[in-house]
């Protein structure tokens, strides 16, 4: 990479992952069924990001 990344670019993915995680953490508290499924999907995103990085960003 040549230039410096702006702050927005550095924190875009981390912010999205954090927002999804918070949605998931609260979702399962508010009910069962679909709300549990939403929490599973959103809290799986940090794991998915690491698996993606291990495949696509490994050098």
């Amino acid at each position: 990479m040549k230039g410096k990344l702006p702050m927005m670019a550095i924190f875009a993915v981390p912010t999205a992952l954090a927002a999804l995680s918070l949605v998931g953490l609260v979702s399962a508290l508010t009910g069962d069924g679909l709300r549990d499924a939403i929490s599973w999907a959103t809290l799986a995103m940090p794991l998915a990001a690491v698996f993606w990085a291990m495949r696509a960003r490994r050098s």
Partner: protein
């Protein structure tokens, strides 16, 4: 970010992490089995009592024995003791009665008996022993009681400071690196530096929530004491200064429950706290009701009933600081969204262990290099590694 502010954040990150890492590793390792507490208990304990079918013991109506009869059986089995709690179940007719030598006896001196409220039969005792109980105690207070809890709470505060400073340092480190960069083939240090950053930043929100709710859980005892000395004292002001009501003058529980139900219709009781314990005054049965929706079933509302006359004294929802504690428990233990959520909780705990371990490794590896060299490493995204 200026070199000077990076230096400050680096030192904050280094010292807050170093002080709390050993304790956090212990908390992660003991926390892992605690996530699956229910599943492990089901495998190792006799669950037949808990699986009894029938009307819920928290309900009312035909087929359920009077509470006075259940309490009488519990006290007959523990002569000389006084009741402390009676707790109900929403799924089975099982209820528990906790007794102790005195109303304010420590938890270790309490006995918890199980009863079937449809047959009236005793179905055993809850035993606070075994490996899971050992792990829970280690995780909560390291067998040191309140000072141990507060100490681990302080370690949680340092963990939160380490997370914040780590996120701040992530910015200069990643200035020239795309998200997810994992340089595994250059040096072992660079590999662990990249894993430390990636795992830390992807699990940021989860670690912050589990850390913050852990700190709140560590404050459980003072939080309940503040409620008891503040709101509860206000609710029972008319009784201030009176002698404690002796157990021989306790009136009918069923009458008290009927008065409490009338005050909060449509909700089910979760437990009754008897006079003199940490959840009531010295004169009241405190009947704690659950909300009726999934979100409010954890938010308790106590109805205070004069234990002698059975008349309602006051009803008031728990204040915000007790609600914060109530909602911190599921958010800390991850036991509220089924097995898949528990497995994700375990995976994120493993991430945390790797972040803690790699942080320790990174510090040990270049401990003797100068601060300037280590700051250059942060600013260059690991391209300039500190020399020996």
């Amino acid at each position: 970010m200026s070199r000077q502010s990076i230096r400050v954040w680096y030192l904050v990150h280094k010292w807050t992490s170093l002080v709390c890492t050993a304790f956090l590793l212990m908390l992660c390792v003991t926390g892992l089995p605690l996530i699956f507490h229910d599943e492990i208990d089901a495998l190792t304990e006799d669950q037949s009592a808990m699986e009894t079918a029938g009307p819920a013991s928290s309900g009312e109506g035909p087929g359920l024995q009077p509470l006075d009869a259940m309490l009488g059986k519990a006290l007959a089995a523990r002569p000389g003791e006084v009741p402390v709690f009676m707790a109900f179940d929403n799924e089975s007719p099982i209820l528990t009665v906790t007794t102790a030598p005195r109303p304010d006896s420590p938890a270790a001196d309490m006995t918890i008996q199980l009863f079937n409220r449809t047959t009236g039969a005793a179905v055993g005792q809850v035993r606070d022993e075994g490996v899971m109980h050992f792990i829970l105690q280690l995780h909560t207070d390291m067998f040191l009681g309140l000072p141990g809890m507060l100490f681990l709470g302080a370690m949680g505060v340092l963990f939160l400071a380490a997370i914040v400073s780590g996120v701040v340092l992530y910015a200069p480190f990643m200035r020239k690196l795309p998200f997810g960069t994992l340089r595994v083939s250059r040096s072992r240090r660079l590999k662990w530096l990249d894993y430390h950053n990636l795992l830390g930043i992807v699990a940021l929100a989860w670690m912050t929530v589990v850390g913050a709710t852990g700190v709140i859980n560590a404050l459980a005892t003072p939080i309940i004491q503040v409620w008891q000395m503040g709101e509860l004292a206000e609710m029972t002001r008319a009784y201030a200064g009176r002698e404690a009501l002796p157990p021989s003058r306790y009136g009918s529980l069923d009458k008290a429950m009927a008065a409490a139900r009338q005050a909060i219709p449509g909700n089910n009781p979760q437990f009754i706290a008897f006079p003199g314990g940490s959840f009531s005054s010295r004169h009241h049965y405190a009947v704690f009701f659950q909300g009726a929706t999934p979100l409010t079933e954890r938010a308790l509302t106590p109805a205070l009933i004069d234990a002698e006359t059975g008349a309602l004294t006051d009803v008031r929802p728990m204040p915000w600081y007790v609600l914060a504690l109530t909602y911190s428990q599921p958010l800390h233990f991850g036991d509220y969204g089924g097995l898949p959520l528990k497995m994700l909780w375990a995976a994120l705990t493993l991430f945390t262990i790797v972040v803690l371990g790699s942080g320790l490794y990174l510090w040990l590896g270049k401990r003797r290099s100068s601060l300037d060299a280590r700051l250059r490493e942060v600013e260059s995204g690991g391209r300039l590694a500190p020399a020996e």
